[in-house]
């Protein structure tokens, strides 16, 4: 088979970081080529270089045997490269159709809006990625936005397709649909570069796997015959524990009690429709559900960021329904929000300041309104060490950290507050297996110490491996609650589509 794309000894250095430092890759026509690597291994950087978004420091890229020098994505698009970006390249203020056709719009001088809408509807039907072409992207759930991002790539009919973590936010059904499309492309001889942290997906869809570590390609192997454990070890360079051990449940009295809670989202839609739920001391309660079914609004309401329309929230027996987020924080609610960059961090603050963001009003970080920077620094030093934040320097701005390390900072801050209740929304989104292991260990540690943990995740595997009890949400309501050890993927999958199940013994 001919090599469609070749990368030869490619280097891309940033000031102080060698993101790619000797990458070799060859992608054959009609193959699905997976790239694996820890967070920060340099996968996305490599793809951006191939796509013309970054200029390589050294090395060569060949397309169909010819060396290419892309000065911008314009050139790459002309050469037939399509890419789905890990971080959405979407314009929230535009409609789905506008986002998809941008750069190659139907019409002459005038933009033919209806034609664009029609084209996108056709496209979304053909690929089974249902999305309303006239909806504003900003109003869509992240899952739907992921579909738009994929549609954009398909609209342009690429000769080489790069998918940088396309499945991070898809439902299992959607993922299956995407794999069907990938296989169809393969039939047509279009090679696909596929990046994912989910090892089972990689094993399912790819023909070959290239593993990256610290900016270098370590090995390329045939997928047939590889095992998850083997890939994980190759990536991290050490033995990884894929399943976290949990001692048996020691659940105590209820910490969080929610009665008939109704919540409207910021866009005035009722998202939570009369939820009743309890979380007890010493347990992890997982909320499973398809994105957009009200689970994140539910979390926001408990943290006090969305107002409860009706119903009651109690923390350790105390009514907190109408307290401010600040008061709830003081009473012991910790929150790891879904979007770490937008909601979790002040990116231009340094780590020390980010680590006291929730507690700066309390001693020892301040007294009588005067900050005590030294206390913040010594706490930062200690947390950075415990949570293995890299690089271990509290004077760095949060923006200078990789996504995984940013997530560790948030987790460190929330966990260190000794919370009564920790709400963790998508705590491992986009993290590599090693980092996921670390986060999971922290959540289980909290539980073992007798705290209550409310885990909201779109990853069924995460829910299944951590939760003591699993509540399934559909359309703003809890469809059922099952015990963690009894639950199966199939059972949860059914419930997530709205099929009720008699409440178990849980």
């Amino acid at each position: 088979m001919e090599n469609v794309l070749e990368v030869i000894d490619l280097k891309k250095w940033f000031p102080g970081v060698k993101a790619n430092d000797g990458v070799n890759l060859s992608v054959r026509s009609g193959e699905v080529h997976a790239i694996l690597g820890e967070n920060g291994a340099g996968k996305s950087t490599l793809m951006k270089v191939i796509y013309g978004l970054l200029e390589p420091t050294a090395g060569e890229i060949r397309l169909f045997g010819e060396p290419v020098h892309f000065r911008s994505p314009r050139d790459a698009i002309r050469a037939g490269i399509g890419m789905v970006h890990q971080h959405f390249m979407l314009i929230p203020a535009f409609t789905v159709a506008e986002n998809v056709v941008l750069g190659d719009e139907p019409g002459g001088v005038r933009f033919r809006r209806r034609e664009a809408s029609r084209l996108v509807r056709q496209l979304s039907e053909r690929y089974g990625l249902a999305v309303d072409p006239d909806a504003k992207v900003g109003d869509l759930t992240v899952g739907l936005q992921q579909r738009v991002e994929i549609l954009k790539a398909f609209y342009r009919k690429a000769r080489v397709l790069i998918l940088d973590e396309p499945t991070a936010l898809l439902t299992p059904q959607e993922t299956r649909e995407l794999f069907r499309i990938i296989r169809a492309l393969k039939e047509d001889g279009v090679p696909v570069i596929f990046i994912s942290h989910k090892l089972d997906e990689v094993l399912e869809v790819s023909d070959r796997v290239t593993v990256m570590r610290q900016g270098k390609t370590v090995e390329t192997l045939e997928t047939k015959g590889a095992t998850p454990q083997m890939l994980a070890n190759l990536m991290v360079g050490r033995e990884v524990v894929l399943r976290v051990e949990k001692p048996p449940l020691q659940a105590g009295e209820p910490v969080l009690q929610v009665r008939d809670l109704r919540v409207r989202s910021a866009d005035r839609h009722e998202r939570v429709k009369g939820v009743n739920l309890e979380v007890r001391r010493g347990e992890i309660l997982g909320i499973a559900g398809i994105d957009g079914n009200g689970q994140f609004e539910f979390a926001d309401a408990i943290a006090g960021l969305l107002r409860a329309e009706s119903g009651e929230i109690r923390l350790e027996g105390r009514d907190i329904t109408h307290l401010s987020p600040a008061r709830r924080t003081e009473l012991g609610i910790a929150y790891v929000p879904q979007d770490r960059q937008l909601d979790g961090l002040v990116l231009s603050f340094d780590l020390a300041d980010n680590l006291i963001l929730r507690d700066f009003r309390r001693p020892p970080f301040s007294r009588r309104g005067i900050l005590n920077r030294r206390a913040a620094e010594s706490q930062a030093e200690q947390l950075i060490q415990t949570f293995d934040v890299r690089p271990p320097d509290f004077r760095r701005r949060a923006s200078e950290l990789s996504g995984g390390n940013q997530q560790k900072v948030i987790l460190a801050r929330e966990v260190s507050r000794d919370p009564v209740l920790l709400i963790a929304a998508q705590p491992t989104r986009g993290l590599d297996v090693g980092a996921i292991e670390g986060v999971h260990r922290q959540l289980v540690r909290l539980r073992n110490e007798g705290r209550a943990v409310l885990l909201i995740s779109l990853e069924l595997d995460e829910i299944l491996s951590l939760s003591d009890r699993i509540a399934v949400m559909h359309n703003g309501d809890i469809v059922g609650i099952v015990r963690g050890e009894e639950a199966t993927r199939e059972m949860l999958g059914l419930m997530m589509t709205g099929q009720r199940r008699k409440e178990g013994t849980a």
């Binding site: 401010s324 987020p325 937008l342 002040v346 309104g369 005067i370």
Partner: protein
């Protein structure tokens, strides 16, 4: 190294502007060296000139501090001029109304009145409407500023604050509220040491507030990422009101210091667009209180020097505005300097490599 860079760059950028200005000046038929010499000597050439420069700088510095606070909180208070007027108006009113108070107490009362007036002017309408209805503060502060100036003018043009007689001006404030000048030199420059002391305190207070208090921490968090601040339990709405209020408080303080230290009565000509120049001061200072001092002095020197340049070299004063505009533009563009240096280095190293390879 970083600190040195942050000083050297604006200086270098100003030099570029000055060179371009010199070409312009020469093209217009004036002698650039003599124009610049008179500009510099006008600002710093004698103790009195230095005094005048300081006098012109103090209000810019104090207002600039307030604007820096609003900027750091993510708000663009474009209406500081009106808050400054309100501060001066309140100080004047208190200054001539309560004549039986002892001096120091009366002075403090005037200052406090000015601060409160400025703070309320910014906090109540722009602050509350921003926080609760989302009304854009650029519009509201600007509109409130125009209203303030018209209101102050109304008060002295036939309104309740007009002094008996013919001229639209308020009665002078009580003599015991006027800041003493202590020495003839200060008197000549209309520069009271008390004004200087207040400015120094204001700078220290703004710095301390922003970087050493929980309030400052909240404001800066809101300014950098309001959503994260909200998630962290910081009241974003109250922060908006507080930030605009503080910003107005400083502007109001500037107005009352100007009233007590320089003008002594509210006049029609009280306006001098300090509120607008102070925006540039804050911006060029990157909203850092210490930087505000430097930028404020710089602009004070430009105005004072410009007046002198007019006299000494017969260049219309509007030429100082041309130069000032160029300087602001190029200091804004200071990043071009490392870019050009980097580009030059790269070219040179490229050229050095080429024969070798």
């Amino acid at each position: 190294m970083k600190a040195l860079r942050s000083i050297l760059l604006p200086v270098a950028a100003s030099l570029v502007a000055i060179v371009i200005g010199a070409i312009l000046v020469a093209a217009l038929g004036y002698h650039p060296l003599s124009v610049y010499a008179s500009l510099v000597s006008g600002a710093f050439g004698s103790p009195v000139n230095i005094g005048n420069t300081l006098t012109a700088s103090l209000p810019l510095i104090i207002i600039g501090l307030g604007i820096a606070i609003s900027f750091q909180s993510g708000l663009f208070n474009i209406g500081a001029d009106g808050q400054y007027w309100m501060g001066a108006t309140a100080a004047a009113w208190v200054g001539y109304h309560f004549t039986s108070l002892p001096g120091v107490l009366h002075m403090i009362l005037c200052l406090v009145a000015g601060m409160i007036a400025g703070a309320l002017w910014a906090a109540v309408i722009p602050g509350l409407t921003k926080a609760f209805v989302g009304a854009h503060e650029v519009i509201t502060t600007m509109m409130m500023s125009y209203i303030a100036i018209l209101f102050a003018r109304y008060l002295i043009e036939g309104g309740p604050m007009q002094q008996k007689g013919y001229i639209p001006q308020s009665p002078p404030i009580a003599p015991n509220t006027q800041f003493p000048y202590f020495a003839q030199g200060f008197q000549q420059a209309q520069l009271s040491p008390i004004s200087i002391v207040i400015t120094v305190i204001a700078v220290a207070a703004a710095w301390f507030l922003l970087y050493k208090t929980t309030l400052g921490f909240s404001l800066r968090s809101v300014g950098l990422n309001a959503r994260a601040a909200r998630y962290a339990g910081i009241g974003v709405k109250s922060s908006i009101v507080t930030a605009l209020g503080l910003s107005g408080l400083f502007a109001g303080l500037a107005g009352s210091v100007q009233m007590l230290g320089v003008d002594h009565q509210l006049l029609d000509g009280f306006s001098s667009n300090y509120g607008y120049t102070a925006i540039v001061v804050a911006l060029l200072a990157r909203n850092n209180p210490i930087g505000v001092v430097i930028a404020g002095l710089f602009f004070g020197a430009l105005t004072t020097g410009g007046q002198n340049m007019q006299i000494a070299s017969n260049v219309p004063a509007s030429l100082t505005d041309v130069l000032t505009g160029l300087i602001i533009f190029f200091v804004g563009c200071e990043r071009i300097i490392p870019q050009v240096i980097g580009w030059y280095r790269r070219r040179r190293s490229l050229r050095a490599q080429t024969p070798a390879s």
